[in-house]
Amino acid sequence: MEILVCIKQVPDTAEVKIDPVTNTLIRQGVPSIVNPFDKNALEAALQLKDKHGGKVTVISMGPPQAKEALKECLAMGADQAILVSDRAFGGADTLATSYTLAAAIRKVGSYDLIFCGKQAIDGDTAQVGPEIAEHLGIAQITYVAKIEVNGDTVSVEREYEEGYGIIEGKLPLLISVVKSINEPRYPTIKATMKANRVEIPVWTMADLDVDEQKLGLKGSPTQVRRIFTPPQRTEGVVIQKATAWESVSVLIQKLSDAKII
């Protein structure tokens, strides 16, 4: 099974602050990490490889230092890593990014599954994965919490706020995963040391079959007006009375107050 995983190097937002004047992220001195959801995507890929055999390739578009993130993926157990990097790709929004990544994936050639994290923790758009599938003209299932592959059929549990949907798809397929799908493994020491010695190939614009007008800033219709923290979603209410009977009574009262029943 040929599996591709798209990953992004992001600033560790647990340590990042927003400049109140410019509304942009203050990136200085903030450590870079592999986007956490992408680690779940890689873990999902590695688990499928452990079970069905095959090869896992990680791809990232970013500046040269994104090689560090790719090395971490190799240390976790990916077989191969490719960095897609060129000044011409700079300033790309999700459309230009997904266009470029799709071109790189075409260059890789054969694949059965493409994994992405549900979104990156810096931009939080959740658009690049789905857009890659559109560019490639393949099916996609997003927000996946469980995967099973049987021949060329993939059945997944897709996470919704209210519950799960069971969906089936045929390979090739792009899947974006949520955090609850797995717990990413630790890199081993041997693999960490080996990853440090690997020369990661860098694909530039010249290596890809792309239209220059669709790359980077030029190819990006999105303009960021303002960045702000959205209001926190309210937490759920837990009703826990002494007996089930009392709890249900309170629940019924609340539901009828809210005109739901």
């Binding site: 090395k71 240390a75 630790y186 890199p187 081993t188 020491i189 041997k190 960490t192 040391m193 990853a195 440090n196």
Partner: protein, 379 residues
Amino acid sequence: MNFELTKEQEDIRNMIRDFAEKSVAPTAAERDEKEYFPREIFNQMGELGILGLPYPEEYGGAGSDFLSYAMAVEEISRVCASTGIGLSVHVSLCSWPIFHYGTEEQKQKFLRPLAEGTKLGAFGLTEPNAGTDASAAITTAVKDGDHYIFNGAKIFNTNGGEAEIEVIFASTDKAAGLKGMSAFIVEKGTPGLSFGKKEVKMGIRSSVQREVFMKDCRIPAANLLGKEGQGFKIAMTALDGGRIGVAAQSLGIAQGALEQAIKYSKERVQFGKPISSNQAIAFKIADMAAKVEGARLLVYRAAYHKSHHLPYSKEAAMAKLVASDAAMSVTTDAVQIFGGYGYTREYPVERMMRDAKITQIYEGTNEVQRMVISGAVLR
């Protein structure tokens, strides 16, 4: 002079810190309370390559160096000193003598599973009447054909009863004194080998120290490490390396306590401001930070010496002396900064202070370290 870590050392450290925080720290307080030895954590460290960090790949190791290993013990001990000492004994005291003095067959048979982490190691030297004075040991090994017959007992055996492989010292020639001591590789399950009570301790409570008994215990002659009579030298050189492990453990405890104290002092508000804005607290933290950093330089230098095949006996003794004293003083100060809360088990500094005390005692008391250091500098 170069104080920078290599990229590889930095990656290894980050990886181990991540592992320590996610897989060791969460259970540290509970394991301390219940005196629970976490074999599962050791198995996981084995899978990740931590148990064979400094040994070559041909013997199942990760092929890194002793500085990375010291940092591993530091990072693990930063969150759990009990797990830190188990790691140190496994790598420094059990695996190293086999790596350094063992035959090719012994390395393949014993070092490989130790380095791969499928088996755990221990080291048996101390006896009830032979602590600092190893010459008072009474365990004997008498040659009988292609076996040695062991009789005697060891105490304070770290990882004892949990470990599958022990390096145990016994006299093969009583009349020769220390020159009659020999080292052997002993496997758990050998008839005549049994384990006694588990020590109930002030600190490092999730680490295990047991009594070991040998009664007519037959050990294959092929398990003799080095030559007959070489045992004392093997023990002393292994302990030189073990001291780097204990020094790194001390450093980790001190670093952990320092971080806890810094965090708490910024959060704890009294008289309308964080206590860190009081100079009495700020200066205490300054002293703690300076002690930790001073200890770190000595520990890393001793490990560097060992990695580069430079003499490290004096360096290891200095690192162990300074780092263990730093651990005791920094953890005590941390408890003071936490005030009443620091004395409770609500916060980890109470455990860290209990854990710190042993570092001044084992792997050679700090008085022994002064004997080693003065012996070297007064020569």
